[in-house]
C-alpha cells in the first residue's frame, strides 16, 4: 500500500488512541502465539484495537485491557469459525521441533493454549494470569499444571 494512501486513511492520534496504538505489536505477537496464523492474528489484533478505540473505558493499563480482549476474542470468536488452514509459511523458524510444538499445541483446548501463551509467551505471573483470565489466583496454578501436562503428552506424541 502506498504511504500516501495510508496517511489519507489514518489521522493524527489523540493521547488515548496513541496509548492503544502503541500496544499493536505486542497484541499482534500474542495473537500469533494464540492462532499460529498471520491472517487470523491480523484480524484478531484489528478487532481488539478497534474495541479499544471505541471503548469509553479508561483502564490503568491498555496493555492488560487489550490482552484480555484479545484472549476473549480468541476463546469466543475463533471457536465459531472453521478451522484455519495450515499456513504454508509457518510463523516460526519452521524447524522440526517448532513444527512438533505447533502441532502439539493445536491438540489442546483453547483455554489451555491461551494459558500457556500467556504464561510462557507473555511471561505473566499468577496474579496477572488470574486477572487476565478472570479466574481466582488459586485456580491458576492447577490449570497451568494441567495445561503443561497436556502439552507434554501431546508433544510426546508429535516428537
Amino acid at each position: 500500500m502506498d504511504h500516501a494512501v495510508i496517511r489519507r486513511r489514518t489521522r493524527p492520534l489523540n493521547d488515548r488512541e496513541a496509548a492503544i496504538f502503541a500496544e499493536r505489536v505486542r497484541i499482534y505477537r500474542l495473537a500469533l502465539r494464540l492462532t499460529q496464523n498471520r491472517d487470523a492474528a491480523e484480524d484478531l489484533t484489528q478487532e481488539a484495537l478497534l474495541r479499544g478505540y471505541r471503548s469509553r473505558e479508561t483502564p490503568d493499563s491498555w496493555g492488560a485491557w487489550l490482552t484480555r480482549v484479545a484472549i476473549n476474542l480468541f476463546l469466543n470468536e475463533t471457536a465459531r469459525k472453521k478451522p484455519l488452514p495450515l499456513e504454508i509459511e509457518p510463523v516460526h523458524s519452521g524447524s522440526d521441533e517448532m513444527l512438533a510444538i505447533e502441532m502439539a499445541l493445536g491438540k489442546l483446548p483453547k483455554e489451555q493454549q491461551a494459558l500457556l501463551a500467556l504464561a510462557h509467551g507473555e511471561g505473566l505471573n499468577y496474579g496477572e494470569l488470574a486477572e487476565t483470565l478472570g479466574i481466582p489466583v488459586g485456580t491458576v496454578g492447577s490449570r497451568l499444571h494441567a495445561a503443561r501436562a497436556a502439552f507434554r503428552v501431546a508433544y510426546g506424541e508429535e516428537a
Binding site: H3, R8, T10, F21, V25, Y28, L49, H92, M98, G121
Partner: protein, 116 residues
Amino acid sequence: MNELDRFYREMDRVTLTAEQDARFAPRRRWSWEWILPVAAAGVTLVMLALAQRAGGELSPRPMPGIGGALPMEMVVRPNSKESSRIDDRPGATPSHFFAGSEMGCAPAVDPEGASS
C-alpha cells in the same frame, strides 16, 4: 517447558509492515472520499422530490396495460372520450363522427329538417 519458551520467543522477532500499521490505526471519522458521494446523492434525491411535487414528470410513464415504457412518440394518449372513438373507416370524417355523436350534441346536418 523450555521448548515452549523457545517456541513463543520466535514470535518476538515479528515486526509489522506499513500496511499492518495502517490497518491497526484508527480510521478517519470524516472523509471526503465518502462524504461527497453521499452529499451528491442526497441533493439529487431532494431535487427529484421537489420536481415531482411541482407537477413535473421526469420520465415517461408506461401506459396501463402495455406493461412497458414506450418511446414518448409511440405512446398514444387519448385526451378525451371523442378521440378514442374516431371512426377510421374509409370515407369517415370528423364531421361524420360528430353528426352521429352519442355525446348529445346537435347533428351538424339534419337531413330531415332540410326536407321539411
